[in-house]
Amino acid sequence: MEEVRILSPTAILGYGFPKESFERGLEKEPDLIAVDAGSTDPGPYYLGAGISFTDKTAVKRDLKLMIKAGQQRDIPVVLGTAGGAGGEPHLEWCTEIVKEIAEEENLSFKLATIQSEQDIDYILDKFEAGEVSALSPAEETTKEELKASTRIVGQMGVEPIIKALEKEAEVIVAGRAYDPTVFASFCIKEGFSAGLALHMGKIMECASIAAKPGSGSDSMFGILREDHFILEPLNKDRRCTTTSVAAHTLYEKANPLELHGPGGVIDLSETEFEQLDKRRVRVTGSKFIEDEEYTVKLEGAKKVGYRTLSIAGTRDPIMINELDHIKEVVRETVRDNFDDLSEDDYQLLFRIYGKDGVMGDLEPEDEIMSHEVGIVIEVVAKTQELANTICSFARSTMLHYGYPGRVATAGNLAFPYSPSDLKAGEVYEFNLHHLITVDDPCALFPMELEEV
């Protein structure tokens, strides 16, 4: 092959894209349609709970267009981080959607699914063998912490997807995958430079976010050749500029010159961006430097309890002035009333919007400047019932507390909702952001092939 032509319809499967952009991409005769379907960005809940953060109807709409186009043109459709987090339930959810589409559209094709959820006992063994290390600034983990994990996924590199392509899979549903891999695997399999392929994938996984004006729900086209790649947004109202593309290279990463991924580093120190015409940018010079030992990133989430929230506001300047004091009194009253509970049983938090609700400890302003503030009373407890109990008690205490100087005695809080307390369910935290050393890049990622 002299070049690989790739269509990236959208930044995340389910975010949507204009049909017109997508069709313009098809007219350019792509060799591959690929999409990234997930991220750790929405937080630990989705990984822990095994639920997608994208909506089924929206995912199905995007996938249907992609799979039909792939089948019509006899080109592969690859999607990575299926179901948003890439765990077993996520993969199952997404595969089910693919099968529904096949049935409804009367299609039959070779489907590869690549698992990325890890067996916790296996990870424990590797940890004890010293093959699991923290990815800074996460802290080193412990046996207990690993055992507490609800779900662990590994982030696959290009190798498992290449394997599926070699088996001539027509649709590939991959679990947690390093974002660029869904684009780069095909290119690397065809013998193109891994550095350029991965760099192109890093930009294309966000589709038109790298254009100007940017959009996460519009399509991008990429062409990879021997020593360069070219990017072009598929909506005529958008342009790629050297700065929009270069700026995207540094998006969401700590270091724009070195992008670490499975098996090595994309070295961008000699990368050059060149404006080809008004809407297209050419990129050269990106290199891939293989690590001596192949490592895979692990992501884990653990359940830390159940949450109940009460959302309220205050417009009383005397109350606003006394908020710190009021919070302390409510906290003490709760502690006193439930003195049979230990500190581990629940956490009570007050989020003060209008003060430091957005920035927390990083907030440099220490005074409340607003005439009204939002207060979220939050409880995370061992059980939902306990979270409900503590939240209800804290809410009623705050509502009626006679703080110093109070003149408004009807109630201290304005509630926008009835019921005022919202049961938010299970709460998870990330507990693993570590590297595991492997001999075989495919070892953690078993593949299944089937005809659908």
């Binding site: 750790t40 960005d41 929405p42 937080g43 630990p44 809940y45 990815l135 600034p137 996460a138 050297t242 700065t243 270069a246 700026a247 290279t249 540094l250 998006y251 969401e252 990463k253 700590a254 270091n255 724009p256 010159l257 990368t271 050059e272 961006f273 830390v304 309890g305 956490q347 938090l349 989020r351 430091d356 609700g357 957005v358 920035m359 927390g360 400890d361 990083l362 440099p364 995370v380 709460v427 998870y428 935290e429 990330f430 952001h433």
Partner: protein
């Protein structure tokens, strides 16, 4: 005394975002290469400044990197807690940029 300009006059983009669940990264993308070069030369945006603006130890500022091709400066800090942890305030990390808007650059 040389004159200073507020950074808002000099930038196209100032943003914060997660770089994974354990890091928070700030991007400054300047209006022109000329402005970028001046800011870079001034050395005003450095680890100490970021630490001061967010009231965090300098050691928690992981890096401040000039990225010429994008006329951008990037700073990355340790997240006060991992994304989505109990007590966290900004899961995507996308609203942590405000203190940067007060930076004054000698021009």
């Amino acid at each position: 005394m040389s004159e200073t300009k507020n950074i808002r006059e000099l930038i196209d983009v100032i943003r914060s975002k997660n770089a994974g669940p354990y890091e928070l990264t700030f991007d400054f993308i300047f209006k022109s290469f000329e402005i970028y070069d001046k800011v870079k030369e001034s050395g005003v945006i450095n680890k100490e400044l970021i630490a001061e603006l967010y009231d965090i130890p300098v050691d928690d500022v992981i890096s401040v990197i000039n990225y010429d091709p994008a006329k951008a400066i990037k700073a990355t800090i340790v997240r006060p807690c991992s994304s989505g942890a109990v007590g966290e305030t900004d899961v995507y990390g996308a609203q942590q940029h405000a203190p940067l808007l007060s930076i004054e650059i000698p021009m």
